[in-house]
């Protein structure tokens, strides 16, 4: 397994994996969306708006999952100084921000018909908004520090500081009396959600996870290639300069 942490082995592995993960993503999301719109029952209270759940809840799970992936990569950066961990960390931030954004927007669209408001300042919503801000701050940090190694270490420390927010998001609905409902799938004593709704939700969650894996692999690969390109450009520029210098010497001698 450690062999594939080397970028040289990692790239062919990604090339072999990507068609499978992309295909699986398409299949799962296709089945999941079909079940969402045609098979899953409408809620007796919420009507058809309950179908927003099948997008909202997986996006929320993935926004946290992505952060934990980033935190694990951050450990890889700080402890093992691994270049692949740097790339994985950098690649995960915009994807995580995207999932968090989807979660916030769908939640807002769901809140309007159900709670009568687009936004409330309750603990769950606010802590997810803070997660979104942390993602944006990390992206800004990556963009501001030019040297990749230094940027990776700074972003890794910031990522690990931000982990504080993750348990707050998870337990916000239990610690505070919020408008947002408490957990109904991953809870002690089993899920309280009916199987006809649980199945589409689980398939959508798997589909979102595969989507994240696919996008993350692609983004990590692109980051490695971008760095190689950067290095090659510098080398080419350097050798070009050497050529020029050499020519100047020849000119002087002549």
């Amino acid at each position: 397994m450690w062999k594939y942490a080397n970028p040289t082995y990692f790239l062919p592995l990604v090339a072999r994996l990507l068609p499978w993960t992309a295909g699986l993503t398409a299949a799962l999301l296709g089945v999941g969306l079909y079940m969402t719109f045609f098979i899953a029952p409408a809620d007796y209270q919420q009507g058809d708006t309950v179908r927003i759940m099948y997008i909202h809840v997986p996006a929320a799970w993935l926004s946290v999952f992505c952060y934990m992936t980033m935190a694990a990569s951050a450990l890889g950066t700080l402890v093992w100084r691994h270049p692949l961990a740097d790339a994985a960390q950098k690649a995960a931030a915009p994807i995580g921000a995207g999932f968090t954004f989807i979660c916030l927007v769908t939640g807002s669209l769901w809140g309007k018909p159900m709670w009568g408001t687009w936004w409330v300042w309750d603990a769950r919503l606010t802590s997810v908004l803070v997660l979104f801000l942390i993602y944006l701050g990390l992206i800004a940090l990556w963009q501001t520090i030019e040297e990749p190694g230094r940027a990776a270490r700074a972003a890794a420390i910031m990522t690990l500081i931000g982990v504080v927010n993750i348990p707050i998001i998870k337990f916000s609905v239990d610690w505070w009396n919020t408008l947002h409902q408490p957990a109904s799938v991953f809870r002690m004593g089993g899920p309280t959600i009916h199987p006809t709704m649980l199945w589409p939700l689980m398939i959508m969650a798997l589909g979102f996870t595969m989507l994240f894996i696919t996008l993350h692999l692609m983004a990590t690969r692109n980051e490695i290639l971008r760095r190689r390109l950067h290095r090659l450009t510098l080398l080419a520029a350097g050798s070009g300069e050497a050529d020029m210098a050499g020519r100047r010497l020849v000119d002087q001698e002549a």
Binding site: L133, G137, A140, L141, T144, I145, R150, I157, G162
Partner: protein
């Protein structure tokens, strides 16, 4: 013969007092923020009295951030950060002392000025005492949290804005419990000690954790 940490504290304190008048400028900035708020929301004294603690807290938060970007940047530029990093004294303790000195030079003047500015926002005696007490125990947490951002952005030329973006989301809990401590004074149905103790806990936790994160950032950036 002074210990190295005492010497460092005095150095930081003198630098903060003499160069750019960090503390005085922070208080002026605090005053300006308090002054412009009534222009934005209207001079209704009842409304100002109700949201006064929140205004003071936001103003204190922004005024604390103001000087933080120079906390390690100036040392990085003149090379003294390298000396501090190579010293026998642990970098974590050095960061802690620098934070304390920075708070004493910029945070403490804000706390002292807060009751006077609170009067301008139509706060009465008890509310003034509440908001001052909450600022006294809460502003050190802002400095410690800010020090992590300051360490991460020490080597950047324009780190101030990035520092705010990184640090402000982390200060949300301090702000929540700071304002609720100040608000609990006026409301007999709420207990004052609960948010106050949580605020104390946040300050202690950030004092215990932030120096390690900031020192790790300074070490990794110096390589």
């Amino acid at each position: 013969m002074r210990g190295p940490l005492t010497a460092l504290f005095l150095r930081e304190w003198r630098l903060a007092r003499r160069i750019g008048g960090g503390g005085a400028m922070g208080v002026v900035f605090f005053l300006i923020l308090v002054t412009i708020t009534p222009f934005a929301i209207g001079p209704d004294l009842n409304l100002l009295g109700r949201i006064g603690p929140a205004i003071l807290w936001i103003a204190a938060l922004l005024a604390t951030l103001l000087g933080l970007d120079r906390l390690f940047q100036a040392d990085h530029e003149d090379g003294s950060l390298d000396l501090l990093r190579m010293a026998e004294t642990p970098l974590e303790l050095i960061v802690l002392v620098k934070c304390l000195a920075h708070w004493a030079a910029t945070g403490l003047p804000l706390v002292i000025a807060a009751p006077f500015f609170g009067v301008m926002l139509a706060l009465d005696g008890e509310a003034l005492a509440g908001v001052t007490a909450s600022l006294l125990v809460g502003t050190p947490a802002l400095t410690f949290l800010g020090a992590m951002g300051a360490a991460l952005t020490a080597t950047l030329r324009r780190g101030g804005l990035l520092l705010s973006i990184l640090v402000l989301p982390m200060t949300v809990p301090v702000l929540i419990f700071g304002v609720s401590t100040a608000g609990a004074v006026n409301d007999a149905s709420l207990s004052f000690s609960t948010p106050f103790l949580v605020l104390c806990a946040l300050t202690l936790m950030s004092a215990a954790g932030a120096p390690f994160a900031a020192a790790a950032a300074l070490r990794s950036l110096g390589e």
